[in-house]
């Protein structure tokens, strides 16, 4: 990419790998309906790290599950498209939302072209198989990712590939570790093995769902550096989901801020942190304690609590906690995403035309 392009221009230059359009996921429970994801749209471009940040219940994990078609009953996609652009196969663009979750095509994509790094590697690995066995199985199952001519991969070759992957993700003594069970590995090594597994089939899109939330801060720093290096090396697109604004700032190129199933603001990472427009983004950034801030001072807070998913407020979901609320507008209509900068959008009536009917 020529250096003269701004981040925003470069973003629109490439065709998106994944386009999510107006996605809605609903969980129909006995107690009521939960609109876990409510009309979310975004693009992921090749080689880009898209950060999705939000607090619990904001729909970030459900969005990820929708892309992989892993939503469990009683949840289902009620609306929207998940358009995935393939590189060679026909048809070129497929709507993942329409694929049967257990169908052959979805199973061929899942884990191969679209891979996942889950939050809890302890729960994600099988405890009765060695980590090597599980990665070898994935490589053999999706052999076409490495040999497009349809040539199968032998177990022996897959094992050598696994050892190579382990070396790649910085696991020491890979020849021995390949035969270890997940519970024999420390948290950091286990997460590295998980990353090796996610990369084993050379995915085009990697979804990292809070990959460092369960591990210690010095190990987290190692894992984040590793992910940054691997991302540059393989030019993989990553959807990076986290609640940690510090991690987002260090990892993402483009950021989506979600709240109660909706996108509140999106934009290039620098603008989100240095020129946030939505009151929620601003409040969130103010409320994090800093390593360099004033000690023992009262932190600015967002008043109130996250609403229970059954009691989603009408209008803008953030309006009951917003410090810039306009009661006559915000409580009655849902604001749409409005352009507020180059490549930056915010869903807030502050940026709507005041004459426009709410």
């Amino acid at each position: 990419m020529p250096p003269t392009l701004t981040a925003a221009e470069a973003r629109t230059a490439a065709e998106p790998l994944l386009s999510v359009r107006d996605l809605s996921v609903v969980f129909a429970l006995d107690e009521g309906t939960v609109r876990a994801v409510d009309g979310v749209s975004f693009d992921v471009r090749p080689g880009e790290v898209l950060g999705i940040v939000g607090e619990s219940g904001c729909g970030k994990s459900v969005t990820m599950k929708a892309i992989l078609q892993l939503i469990e009953s009683p949840g289902h996609i009620t609306r929207g498209e998940i358009l995935y652009r393939r590189d060679a196969a026909r048809p070129r663009i497929i709507d993942l939302a329409l694929l049967p979750p257990r169908g052959a095509l979805m199973r061929a994509l899942r884990g191969a072209e679209i891979a996942l790094i889950p939050q809890e590697p302890m729960a994600a690995f099988s405890p009765v198989h060695t980590v090597g066995q599980q990665i070898i199985e994935a490589i053999m199952l999706h052999a076409h990712r490495r040999h497009p001519d349809g040539h199968p991969i032998t177990r022996h070759a897959a094992r050598a590939m696994t050892i190579e992957l382990f070396r790649d993700v910085g696991i020491s003594m890979p020849e021995q570790r390949v035969d270890a069970y997940s519970w024999q590995l420390s948290g950091g090594v286990r997460q590295r093995a998980m990353i090796a597994m996610a990369l084993s089939c050379r995915p085009r899109l990697l979804i990292a769902d809070e990959p460092t939330t369960a591990i210690d801060v010095t190990t987290q720093a190692q894992i984040l550096t590793l992910l940054r290096e691997l991302q540059r090396k393989y030019d993989t697109a990553i959807i990076f989901i986290t609640h940690d604004l510090g991690v987002i700032a260090q990892m993402a190129h483009y950021v989506l801020v979600m709240y109660l199933g909706s996108v509140m603001e999106e934009g290039p990472v620098d603008d989100i942190f240095h020129a946030p427009k939505h009151p929620y983004t601003k409040a969130l950034l103010r409320s994090i304690p800093s390593l360099y801030g004033e000690a023992r001072s009262s932190l600015p807070v967002i008043s109130g609590a996250l609403p229970h998913p059954f009691n989603r407020p009408p209008g803008c979901p953030f309006h009951p906690r917003c410090d810039a609320v306009m009661p006559q507008r915000c409580a009655h209509a849902v604001p749409r995403l409005q352009p507020v900068g180059i490549g930056q959008q915010a869903a807030c009536f502050l940026y709507h035309d005041p004459a426009e009917p709410a």
């Binding site: 210690d216 510090g246 304690p289 390593l291």
Partner: protein, 342 residues
């Protein structure tokens, strides 16, 4: 918050040479083949009215220290000298259980998980009121009054007291847990990761509440946490632990401005900065925390330390006063101007 940091106030708690070794057993006869030195000779003072932060990564022994102070764990050795309300000095570590019981009112705990630490079958009145019942407040009317007062104190409406915990969000539950800890009017509150399970927007509210309660009720806090920015925000002094030992102890401002132990500096560098313009440091800590059952020779940190020399491999450093009130366990604490070097 205008309160005098506990610089010159008398000590409330004096922990001396605290050790907790967990045996490793093997075989049918549960033969002891070694020990995990979870806490290995830890000494520190907590002054009246101060907030002391105990930080470190998982397995460093910070929780074991806090549980030993409460005698939820029997320490292997060492003293936990507590200055009671009436001016006596007692050793919590060796006291018989019956004598300890009246003191339990004065030392209370706030737990990490607001979902696991409240009894789901008990209303708020019973959850928060249980410590009162245990401590002899039998009259229901009195308990209702006290619980209402406690709920107001932590920013919840007293009308909630007949509801069950499931009706509350994580932040509200943590407030309930705080109310319960305050029920007996404690002097010392041990908070074990009280905000790490909470969302960012709620975390700030609970931190503010803790700060406010501390100055209002003249509480002394031991704050166990892995999040350095939270500790930085709430604590007067901070103690950093690594593999069961204290490696640095000092006033929060001083430790964060000029850490004297390479581990503290590395820990600070590892925190991702919420600003994309501040590039994360690539000179980060390599390797992993050693196994506390078989720690390395000399300084426990030397295999991961960028400044390690021969002496560090051979000779274990002692925790010593580098500057007034600032202790570090490093041979080269004075020479390493750590933050400038990275």
């Amino acid at each position: 918050m205008n309160r005098v940091p506990g610089g010159n106030t008398p000590p409330l708690l004096d922990v001396r040479g605290l050790r907790k070794y967990f045996p490793i057993t093997r075989g049918f006869f549960r033969r002891v083949v070694g020990h995990v030195r979870a806490v290995d000779d830890v000494s520190f003072i907590v002054r009246q009215g101060e907030a002391l932060g105990l930080v470190g990564e998982s397995g460093c022994g910070k929780t074991t220290v806090s549980r030993s102070i409460l005698r939820a764990i029997e320490p292997t050795a060492g003293q936990v000298l507590y200055h009671t309300r009436v001016g006596q000095v007692v050793d919590l570590a060796s006291m018989p259980g019956a004598e300890l019981k009246p003191l339990r009112r004065e030392i209370q705990m706030i737990f990490q998980d607001p979902f696991g630490s409240l009894n789901p079958r008990m209303t708020l009145l019973d959850n928060v009121g249980e410590p009162l019942l245990v401590n002899g407040i039998r009259s229901r009317r009195e308990r209702v009054e006290r619980v209402a007062e406690l709920l107001r104190l932590v920013g919840l409406r007293p009308e909630f007291m007949n509801r069950f915990p499931h009706a509350f969000s994580g932040g509200q539950r943590q407030r309930i847990g705080i109310a319960r800890a305050l029920a007996t009017g404690p002097r010392l509150v041990v908070a074990d990761e009280p905000v790490s399970a909470l969302d960012v927007s709620v975390q700030a509210q609970v931190l503010n509440l803790l700060l406010e309660l501390q100055s209002r009720l003249h509480l002394t806090f031991i704050f166990v946490a892995h999040d350095l920015s939270v500790v930085r925000h709430i604590c007067d002094r901070v103690a950093v632990m690594y593999v069961g030992q204290l490696v640095e102890l000092g006033a929060t401002e001083a430790v964060f401005a000029r850490p004297c132990h390479p581990y503290t500096a590395a820990l600070m560098r590892a925190v991702p900065v919420p600003d994309p313009r501040v590039a994360s440091s690539d000179a980060m800590l390599q390797g992993e925390v050693p196994n506390p059952a078989a720690p390395p020779s000399g300084c426990y940190f030397h295999p991961r330390c960028r400044f390690a020399e021969d002496r560090c491999r051979r000779e274990a450093p002692l925790l010593r006063e580098v500057r007034p009130g600032h202790f570090a366990r490093c041979h080269f604490a004075e020479e390493l101007s750590l933050l400038q070097g990275v």
